[in-house]
């Protein structure tokens, strides 16, 4: 038997720390102590995935959660996602406004062109706008030519900055997917933070050829897209999981004497439907009742972290 090529058993990146140069390893106990405003133990960030899913989106190399899973033309998938951007998000805005909670929208840039009225309402609600790529059909992955990916980042950025200006400082790649170039292109486009690498509870610095980015936590494991859409779990399993995460992080913050961050990743076409919105409200009330929270946008949390971690 011929076996595998000889270099299959060579390990060129086998060394202490990461097998790449993007960021160094950092164990949670080594994170620098951080304080939040009013000595809050938990910075609370509501991250709202607001995607646009084109009816003719490519199905390769994979379908983003919520994508067109049924035969073309899938009105089923298209109209249920679109429901989120016309109905569900307004329910979420109402729930959050009633509790004076800010939010960060991870927004498909094409929505600025499609639904300008929605942009006005997001601005009036003081939601932070972060760019989640052009739309959910234009995924970032290694088969996309560099020039094409750069054009996508620039087009998406221009669309959102022409409406919201320099306040668009955060990037999230659609479906948490990136090529090897994405971070550099994002830094090149002037973003100060990115979110989507699901590897930490606390921010850390990523280094690219075009400058540095703060990587902000954003769970996929604990998200409504994974738990409710992909795993088909009941709504209450998601809301209890968020409260359990809050419980753990709050106790850790107290024990470590250092702030923690609770990111709540939600999606209007999931949490904004009538049969889920009350469970969402109950969950928010549970978080608030625990106390010692600093409700903030992702950008505000990044700024506070940066001020205390200047290097």
């Amino acid at each position: 038997m011929k076996g595998l090529p000889e270099d299959y058993l060579h390990y060129p990146a086998r060394r202490r720390g990461m097998d790449h140069e993007i960021y160094p390893f950092r164990a949670l106990p080594q994170t620098k102590r951080i304080t939040w405003p009013n000595d809050a133990r938990i910075a609370l960030c509501i991250a709202v995935h607001m995607g646009h899913f084109p009816l003719d989106m490519p199905l390769k190399p994979f379908i983003a959660p919520g994508g067109m899973e049924r035969p073309y033309p899938s009105y089923w998938d298209y109209t249920l996602r679109d429901y989120g951007n016309r109905i569900g998000v307004y329910r979420l805005m109402k729930s959050l406004a009633a509790r004076s909670l800010p939010a960060t929208a991870l927004l498909s840039a094409v929505l600025a062109r499609r639904y300008p009225v929605l942009m006005d309402d997001l601005a009036a609600a003081h939601w932070e706008i972060a760019c989640a790529g052009f739309d959910m059909g234009r995924l970032h992955h290694s088969n996309v030519p560099l020039d094409e990916e750069r054009a996508t980042v620039q087009e998406a950025t221009a669309l959102l900055r022409s409406r919201f200006g320099a306040s668009v400082r955060g990037w999230h790649s659609p479906a948490h997917s990136e090529s090897g170039h994405t971070l550099r292109l994002v830094a090149e486009a002037g973003y100060s933070f990115t979110t989507g690498w699901a590897n930490d509870d606390m921010p850390y610095v990523m280094t690219t050829d075009a400058g540095r980015l703060i990587c902000m936590p954003l769970s996929q494991d604990l998200s409504d897209q994974r738990m409710l859409h992909q795993q088909h779990l009941p709504t209450e399993d998601f809301t209890s999981a968020i409260l359990a995460a809050h419980d753990t992080l709050d106790r850790e913050a107290e024990a470590a004497g250092s702030g923690r961050i609770l990111v709540v990743p939600i999606t209007p076409w999931l949490m904004g439907v009538p049969h889920r919105i009350r469970a969402f409200n109950t969950m928010l009330d549970g978080i608030i009742a625990r106390g010692n929270i600093w409700p903030a946008t992702m950008g505000q949390i990044a700024d506070h972290w940066r001020a205390q971690n200047p290097n």
Partner: protein, 302 residues
Amino acid sequence: MLSEPGHYDYMPWRRRPRITWPNGARIAFWVAPNIEHYELNPPPNARRMPWTRPQPDVLGYSWRDYGNRVGFWRMADVMSRHGVRGSVSLNVAVCAHYPEIIEHCCKLGWELFSHGTYNTRYFYGMNEDQQRAVIRENRETIKRASGQELDGWLTPAISNDETTQHILAEEGIKYTLDMLHDDQPTPITVRNGHLISIPYSLEINDVPLLVMRNTPPERFAAICKAQFDQLYEEGAESGTVMCMPLHPFLIGQPHRISALDDVLRHVLAHDKVWLATGREIAAWYTEHHLAEAQSWIGAGTP
């Protein structure tokens, strides 16, 4: 390929023109039993295979067949005990196969609308003439079997093609259920004629919930009640619609039927509910609210 259906305009869920339902109801509640026949030996379709196993798929076939032999009768009893009429999403071939079922629906005063001829004959890939022929034949068959006009449409398995909504409007269909973009009726843009959308549901539909999401009956009932409670509350501001789509082969199983009873009892315990049919909702909306919605859209949804 189209990048979007292109049949409806953006209508944000705030400051919409107020919808009022008859007798001051906050919510139009309608039940849509899907009375279907899945063929034992259907022809293949390039975009979708009718059965997951090689034909004959005895398990898949007999599971659906249970709906017509057993589930329908049980479901119809529960509904009539609560005085709730059905608006039947009908595979029109059922008129030929099981006239007993059609007769029973008519006796209960239920509406019949078309869900195509068979649930195993998809619209994917049909040309316009073929789609038109199916709609016309369905209209005639429903008229002959029940004396009813054909006003509503749900494409079998939501397999509509790009042109289906245009043809529906040209053939005089008044309301379509192929789009799930709203909790209220909305205008639909078509090349000729008139069409509106009224809310169907894939969120509290028994197929996605019970089959795809593995929901136990008690939780199914809780989800339907939560859906109702929210839409009932919001209906105080502007009338909402809740559709409860059913499939007799699922909801009519002995271990699940009490969930339907539970949901209907909950709904009927509220006083501002309009127990309507699809046709009644479509007619009311078209007469009283369609023009206002169109002018609000025209004004940029202020």
